[in-house]
Amino acid sequence: MTADLNSYLFVGAVLFVCGVVCMATKRNGIGVLMGVELVLNGANVNFVAFARYTDLGLDGQVFSLFVIVLAAAEAAVALAIALNFYNNHLTIDVDRANKLKG
């Protein structure tokens, strides 16, 4: 397995899909957040790969930095929400959060 663009992209794809599946299957709110992290990481891998294997320059790396920062911010807010949720529901099970059921 050579380290070329496609390989990176495949890895990013696996991360992305894993993140998504994680988001879809985890009932734990924290787990869902982890899925999100995975997804963002998949994206980051892609950005970096494109920066490395194309002539696009630093854009990819800069973007992945932004993503990392935003992921951190997201994590902070999401955790705050999770805490709030826990305060209200005494659980972190997202299946309980069905107030928006139609």
């Binding site: 299957t25 985890k26 995975l38 002539d55 696009l56 990392i68 951190a72 209200n88």
Partner: protein, 195 residues
């Protein structure tokens, strides 16, 4: 197989397996553990891709910051040390199937993409600035508004603008988010009867 390829294979597998393990782990703590593995390996991949600064940032912020945050969350919300909120096997299977399907779709599309012609040549070598691997300074310059990577390879007088404004916006955003998160997360009296 050269060294780079070997290392890439190892870390790519670690990343992927870590991610898969996160999916299939049943407890949050284990998930967190596998996530660390996955994210760390990703950082390694970044290093391999000559993105040293990004890899460093990955390690620092994700593994060092975000994960700690997550573990805090786990601890703050856990009723017991090994909280299990079991997902039903059917759902896992279904999720897996859908995931596989999705993976297949992504792969298929990756496989189907014909990258644009001019870039084919460059793909081998990449951007000369990036290819050095020492990207700290160019990134710093780009945040300040200068783009040495682009300016060096372009043969005209026109300079590519940098990321000063997004950088500022993100910083302010980060500030706002942190304040907001603190506000949200502060302890409140539980409403009676809710839950």
């Amino acid at each position: 197989m050269n060294g780079e390829s070997f290392l890439f294979t190892v870390f790519a597998l670690a990343t992927c397996l870590g991610a898969i393990a996160v999916v299939f782990s049943q407890t949050v703590v284990r998930m967190a553990f596998w996530l660390v593995i996955s994210l760390g390996s990703t950082a390694a991949l970044f290093f391999l891709a000559k993105a040293d600064f990004v890899g460093a940032a990955q390690l620092l912020i994700y593994v060092g910051g975000t994960l700690v945050l997550l573990v805090f969350g786990v601890m703050l919300t856990a009723s017991g040390p090994y909280l299990k909120i079991i997902t039903s096997p059917g759902e896992i299977i279904m999720g897996s199937c859908v995931g596989l399907l999705f993976l297949f779709v992504v792969f298929a599309s990756l496989d189907g993409v014909k990258w644009r012609e001019p870039s084919v040549a460059a793909m081998a070598t990449g951007n000369p600035v990036v290819a050095t691997g020492n990207t700290l300074r160019p990134i710093g310059l780009s945040f300040l508004g200068s783009r040495p990577d682009q300016d060096l390879i372009s043969d005209g007088d026109d300079l590519t603008p940098g990321y000063l404004l997004p950088f500022e916006i993100v910083s302010v955003h980060l500030l706002v988010v942190l304040i907001g998160a603190a506000y949200l997360a502060r302890a409140k009296r539980r409403p009676v009867g809710s839950g």
